[in-house]
């Protein structure tokens, strides 16, 4: 029997916003089956994965520590994605932001100045922007593909990090281990809830969400970005400058990723280490789409994604489940979301086409 997809023509707006919830529910159901197959009590496992990690003040705070970089980066990325500008290199922009911000803390490692942190944040944003400016320049000047250039610059940034911590920035008392010295107290983000690690970086993420929402919903730039993405021809007829949109979206996403890098090194890590980010720049791409490229959606998607990390660790501690469970859950979430998106756009038809639509179906 043939199965084919037929274009629905009209896309249901309700379903577009409902699909992330559907994906979450389907992931949970599939998770129950998965746990049952592994021979563990599914209810206990789901509780251990999604509830107990955040049932203590510490765990609850960790959700925001882990979610901060994801939300920051994803808010930035969602602008570009709406305008069909594909910045895949947030991981590199994060790394350069961390180096720029963290570099200041290392340069002034005896500083007690109150200005150190703001300067580090500014340096982080500028560092990320500078790294994103390279693909923006190449795209607007030579029409290179920003997907490739931004992605390849990730590896350049990681090599730069590796060079610095193996060389000039290595801790003089660290017995030759490739990591920097610890940052001074003045270079460490203040903690918001006493006894936890929840630092003020989360406020940056909330501010990014608020700014993003204002820009996209209330500002002419947001309008131009959306039109450029949905109907490039119309945008150029309306006189929107495409190059300007490319520059703005790349600089915004780069700056946000750079700030996320600075927040990571001056918040939870407090020094420069070989692995600053466990792939936040890439996970944030999933977060942006899970959040429907909307700042508020991204906020919740980022926290959900953070929860899957915490849950994976907790399931290891409590249930002796393998580390791979985290990846399986994240994969299922994305799979069900994409499947739902396909079904929103197309309807499934069984049997061969009755009309001349055959060529379309085969393509």
């Amino acid at each position: 029997m043939l199965v084919r997809l037929e274009n629905r023509g009209e896309i249901s707006k309700t379903m577009v916003y409902a699909s992330p919830f559907i994906a979450v529910v389907l992931t949970l159901i599939a998770g129950v089956f998965l746990f049952a197959l592994l021979g563990v009590n599914p209810v206990e496992a789901i509780l251990s994965f999604f509830i107990t990690p955040i049932s203590t003040l510490d765990g609850f705070a960790e959700l925001f520590v882990k979610g901060t970089p994801l939300v920051l980066i994803a808010v930035g990325l969602s602008f570009g994605f709406q305008a069909n500008v594909w910045n895949i290199g947030a991981e590199g922009q994060l790394t350069v932001g961390a180096l720029a911000g963290g570099g200041l803390a290392l340069l002034f490692f005896e500083s007690e100045s109150l200005f150190l942190l703001p300067a580090m944040a500014a340096a982080g944003i500028l560092g990320g922007m500078a790294w994103a400016a390279i693909p923006a320049f190449l795209k607007t000047r030579y029409n290179t593909n920003e997907i490739l250039t931004s992605l390849m610059l990730v590896y350049v940034a990681l090599l730069l990090l590796s060079y610095l911590i193996h060389g000039p920035w290595k801790d003089p008392e660290g017995q030759n281990f490739p990591e920097s010295r610890l940052f001074p107290d003045a270079g460490i983000l203040p903690v918001m809830i006493e006894t936890t690690r929840m630092h003020v970086g989360w406020l940056f993420a909330l501010a990014a969400v608020a700014t993003g929402w204002i820009l996209i919903a209330r500002h002419v730039i947001g309008f131009q970005i959306r039109v450029t993405g949905m109907a490039p021809m119309a945008a150029s007829f309306a006189g929107f400058k495409e190059k300007r949109i490319i520059w703005i979206t790349l600089l915004m996403s780069g700056g946000a990723a750079g700030l996320a890098g600075m927040v990571e090194v001056s918040g939870p890590i407090q020094q420069i280490v070989p692995n600053i980010s466990p792939g936040y720049g890439f996970t944030a791409i999933i977060v942006a789409f899970l959040g429907r490229l909307h700042p508020v959606g991204v906020l919740f998607a980022g926290l959900l994604m953070a929860l899957t990390y915490l849950g994976g660790e907790n399931a290891q501690i409590e249930m002796n489940l393998p580390n791979a469970v985290t990846g399986v859950f994240q994969g299922m979430l994305l799979f069900f979301l994409l499947a739902a998106d396909v079904l929103i756009k197309y309807r499934v038809k069984f049997g061969g086409p009755k009309t001349a639509g055959a060529a379309e179906g085969a393509g």
Binding site: P53, I54, S55, T56, L57, D58, G59, F60, A61, E62, V65, K66, S162, H166, G167, K170, Q175, N176, F177, P178, E179, L182, I193, T195, R197, L206, A210, E264, G267, P268, I269, Q270, Q271, V273, P274, N275, I276, S277, P278, L310, E313, N314, Q316, I317, E318, N320, P322, N323
Partner: protein, 361 residues
């Protein structure tokens, strides 16, 4: 305004959740012992042996303990969270088993003064942070003798992780021992900047073989270099665990880390209330370092020589770093008749004669 309300709501929620949680934590009766691993428990090397130690603790102490572990924890922001998570969920003793967990362990220990921490291979201690490591270099001495006898090309390949004293000490121990039985030997080193990365480890091993190495040694955690050696028909020495299964023909022997006795002893100490911070550095004598079965292809006289050295290290008549030792430029750095003290060994940051290249600085 909106933001302030949201935050207020969050902290209110958090406080409520915390109250609920403190009730839960007190219910635990057996001592909870947590382990943090840098690789997967199935790495068949470093992490595998630490996990064997954990299993041994469960077997030895039965229902007096309950152990748990988290594997593949990156040495960065995540390490602090995982250690905190273990400390805040009622674990009374936590083993953090990689050098890069040093600062995170010390940081978390400050926040949880009642929890005992044990950090492997580090040098920062506190009242509730002890350190432990094994004298891997004793094993390196014996395998260096075997490698020196078995090589035909007189080139030993060494896949190394990070240029810290612990790793450099191993390279030097091999070079000194191999050259004591075969002065023509040189050691070539490739650094992979990772503890566990089978792809990089295999590439490094192949590059070394292309440069003429016919015995492969490693200070990384996966059996990939042993596999590469088997594939190209050269000898290999396993690391941390018996890696014979990955290269039955090539595998001459392996240096095995046996953490079980130490883990059991320290867990008992916490149960008895006698735990104290300190630094333990065990070798062949205490059983923390062992050798796996010798390959049948090793001639009997070489096995006899290796066993003599191993017993000599145990009774103290043999020291892997005994003078005269020369550095790369040929300058004597330890006079004949002297043996190197622990402090010098712990800070070792130079290559001895016979090692090629420079330490990455």
């Amino acid at each position: 305004m909106k933001l302030g309300k949201k935050l207020g709501l969050l902290s209110g929620l958090a406080a409520g959740v915390m109250l609920a949680a403190t009730g839960l934590a007190q219910a635990a009766d057996p001592l909870k012992v947590g382990f943090v691993y840098v690789g997967p428990v199935g790495d068949h090397g470093w992490t595998y042996e630490h996990n064997q130690g954990r299993i041994a603790v469960e077997k030895a102490l039965g229902d007096k303990v309950k152990t748990s572990f988290v594997e593949s924890v990156p040495e960065g922001a995540d390490a602090t969270r995982v250690i905190t998570r273990l400390a805040s969920t009622g674990h009374g003793l936590i083993f953090t088993t990689s050098f890069g967990y040093m600062n995170p362990t010390v940081r978390v220990a400050k926040r949880f003064p009642k929890v005992k921490f044990e950090h492997a291979t580090g040098f920062k201690r506190a009242d509730n942070v002890a350190t432990y490591s094994a004298r891997f270099y004793e094993g390196r001495h014996v395998v260096g003798l075997i490698a020196g006898k078995m090589t035909k090309s007189n080139v030993l390949g060494y896949v190394a992780s990070f240029p810290i004293p612990e790793v450099i000490r191993g390279i030097n121990a091999v070079a000194i021992a191999a050259r004591s039985v075969n002065p023509k030997v040189t050691v070539k080193v490739v650094w992979v900047s990772s503890w566990f990365d089978p792809g990089k480890e295999a590439d490094a091993a192949k590059a070394l073989i292309d440069q003429g190495a016919d015995v492969m040694l490693q200070h990384t955690d996966s059996p990939a270099p042993v596999q590469a050696a088997q594939g190209r028909g050269i000898w290999a020495i396993g690391q941390a665990s018996d890696m014979k299964a990955f290269g039955p023909k090539s595998h001459l022997t392996a240096i095995i880390d046996d953490w079980a006795p130490y883990y059991i002893e320290r867990t008992k100490a916490v149960l008895d209330g006698t735990w104290k911070s300190g630094d333990v550095w065990g070798g062949f004598k205490s059983g923390m370092v062992k050798l796996s079965d010798y390959n049948a292809a090793i001639p009997a006289d070489v096995v006899a020589m290796a066993e003599k050295a191993r017993k000599g290290i145990i009774d103290g008549s043999v020291h892997p770093f005994a003078g005269p030792i020369k550095d790369q430029s040929g300058k004597i750095i330890l006079k004949a008749g002297e043996v190197m003290d622990d402090k010098t060994m712990l800070g070792m940051n130079f290559y001895v004669e016979g090692v090629e290249g420079k330490i990455p600085q």
